[in-house]
């Protein structure tokens, strides 16, 4: 893969679009789960609020400041998890994590089908310094859903 193609893959249209105009920003009200994400290395911050009805994530919103990758990741994550059962969402969390931390030599992203639009983040695996940007929202979500209740997660 050429250098410029790597960069184009990372900053593809879908990611640029969600980076510029993130969806589901704000605070979910009422909300049953919340967590703060923080990357002390770069200063990215994320406040995630959720409403879980029974077993399903009925609503999810975020507020934060970060780079295009972390903003787009939070935005696309909210779209991907809204309306889905928590167990499925946690499965998606693991799949996303595997996607962005996969060996850069792998040609096709694993689980492209299960990941849907999230497969757009496959390019992140070629940029080890940017993995934390893409995964901050997901780590925050996982923390919010922990049974002991949430807190602040940090990635660095």
């Amino acid at each position: 893969m050429s250098d410029d193609a790597e960069l184009d893959e990372l900053y593809q249209e879908l990611i640029m679009d969600h980076g510029r105009r993130p969806r589901n920003t704000g605070v979910a009200e009422p909300c049953s789960h919340r967590a703060h994400g923080h990357n002390p290395l770069c200063g990215d911050k994320l406040a995630l609020t959720l409403r879980v009805d029974g077993d399903v994530i009925a609503d999810v919103k975020f507020l934060g400041e970060g780079c295009a990758i972390s903003t787009a990741s939070a935005s696309l994550m909210t779209q991907a998890v809204k309306g889905r059962p928590v167990t499925e969402v946690l499965d998606l969390y693991h799949r996303f994590h595997a996607l962005v931390t996969a060996d850069a030599g792998e040609t096709a992203p694993p689980d492209a089908e299960a990941l849907g639009k999230l497969a757009a983040f496959a390019g992140v695996r070629r940029f080890p310094t940017r993995v934390k940007c893409a995964s901050l929202a997901w780590h925050t979500l996982e923390a919010a859903l922990r049974p002991e209740g949430a807190s602040t997660v940090t990635t660095e």
Binding site: L7, M16, G43, K45, C67, A68, I69, R130
Partner: protein
């Protein structure tokens, strides 16, 4: 531009014999660490290949050579700062350890509840957190000299802050995030007039200021800390200068071999400084490498080299300041090496990834100076930092990189 031959200087640095993603390396992250000239790499290699032994112990030839090299480096560091005696030079792991040593050994024992440590609004975390720690332990507090909008110190506020509760004024000579050069001589004079000792964080100053500005007998600083790797030397080695009357009254904070006079089973007595503060086997090769780096640096035509560096900074600053959507962070009149900026069309981390594809290495982040970021209302900045081996081509590469980011993020 001066007649300084940057290309010849650059040729002394093996790291530039490579391309990054097919592009010439425009290394503008000198504030994080500088590259190493062959003279330093060779000195470290030569030590391991010919002279390696422990110091201060062995009677054999290699031990003598290693000791001579290590103590020779101390003498070179003393000459670099114009310290009256090499015994006022303590080798540390770096600036951070030097400041922590002063915090634990000089400040903490004399700190009473209600006392103050005065810092400034532009300090690196290394010159904040150690003071937070000792103040927390002793019920004292950290006060600070605020910053003006251009990133210089609000000197009008200083007299009111130099209270009779202040036990130390800890101040950086050059801001790592803003590039501001502080008037150290005047600051020390004001503090001393109130009987307050001064610690100078010289991490970003040593490689970018003329010798007179670093002369401890001229500035009157009580303590000066710097790191070898920011002045063309190895990592893992630094210097803490301390005036001998302070050092001789300070207790050790680490015990072990080489820092003692006599050891019994139930007690020990301590060596005189500097050995008192250098427990255990020190980073010998690194100290010798630092000696080589300082010798190399003092051997440059420093005035011409720094004038060249300043001219590159001025050119890059003017070019970026003229562009829409670019905000410079830190515009003080007295500045060196640092060009900190934000782009209103791209986050610093996105920009830095694109920069890397142009071969341009800059720092993106908070530069371990979160209070500075808060003061200017930004989470992070892009920071280009210049050194004498940089060239016009590096400035061009930086401007090309900014143009590319602008194209991608505003199209």
């Amino acid at each position: 531009m001066s007649a300084f031959d940057a290309a010849a200087l650059r040729a002394e640095f093996p790291v530039f014999e490579q391309t990054i993603r097919g592009k010439a390396l425009a290394y503008l992250d000198n504030g994080a660490t500088t590259q190493k000239p062959r003279a330093v790499i060779d000195a470290v290699t030569r030590f391991y290949a010919h002279d390696n032994a422990n110091i201060h112990r062995a009677v054999h030839t290699l031990g003598e050579r290693a000791t001579a090299g290590y103590e020779g480096a101390r003498a070179i560091a003393a000459r670099f700062l114009n310290a009256p005696s090499p015994n006022e030079i303590i080798f540390t792991r770096g600036t951070t350890e030097g400041i922590n040593l002063v915090a634990r050994s000089f400040v903490e024992p004399r700190l009473q509840p209600g006392d103050e440590i005065l810092v400034t609004g532009m300090e690196h975390h290394a010159n904040l957190v150690p003071w937070h720690m000792v103040c927390q332990a002793r019920g004292a507090r950290v006060t600070h000299v605020p910053l003006l909008d251009d990133g210089s110190l609000d000197l009008d506020a200083l007299p009111g802050l130099l209270t009779d509760r202040v036990r130390l004024f800890a101040v950086t000579q050059v801001s790592n995030a803003l590039g501001t050069v502080n008037p150290i001589r005047a600051l020390v004079a004001q503090a001393h007039a109130r009987g307050i000792p001064v610690l100078v964080d010289a991490a970003q100053a040593v490689a970018h200021l003329p010798a007179a500005a670093l002369d401890v007998q001229a500035t009157g600083a009580d303590f000066v800390a710097f790191s070898g790797h920011k002045i063309y030397g190895p990592t893992g080695i630094g210097v803490l200068y301390g005036r001998s009357e302070h050092l001789s009254a300070m207790p050790p904070i680490m015990g072990g071999g080489d820092m003692i006079r006599e050891v019994f089973l139930d007690r020990s007595t301590y060596a005189e400084p500097p050995a008192r503060f250098e427990a255990g086997t020190p980073p010998i090769a690194e100290a010798i490498g630092l000696g080589a780096a300082l010798t190399w640096f003092m051997g440059l035509d420093r005035e011409a080299a720094l004038a060249h560096e300043d001219a590159l900074l001025a050119r890059a600053t003017a070019a970026l300041a003229a562009q829409p959507g670019v905000r410079l962070i830190g515009t003080a009149r007295e500045k060196v090496t640092v060009l900190s900026f934000v782009l209103d069309f791209a986050h610093p981390h996105d920009a830095a990834t694109f920069f890397d594809f142009e071969g341009v290495a800059v720092r993106a982040g908070h530069h371990c100076a979160q209070p500075v970021m808060a003061r200017f209302g930004v989470p992070a900045t892009l920071r280009a930092t210049f050194a004498p081996y940089n060239t016009e081509a590096d400035v061009e590469a930086l401007l090309r990189a900014v143009a590319r980011v602008r194209r991608v993020f505003t199209e």
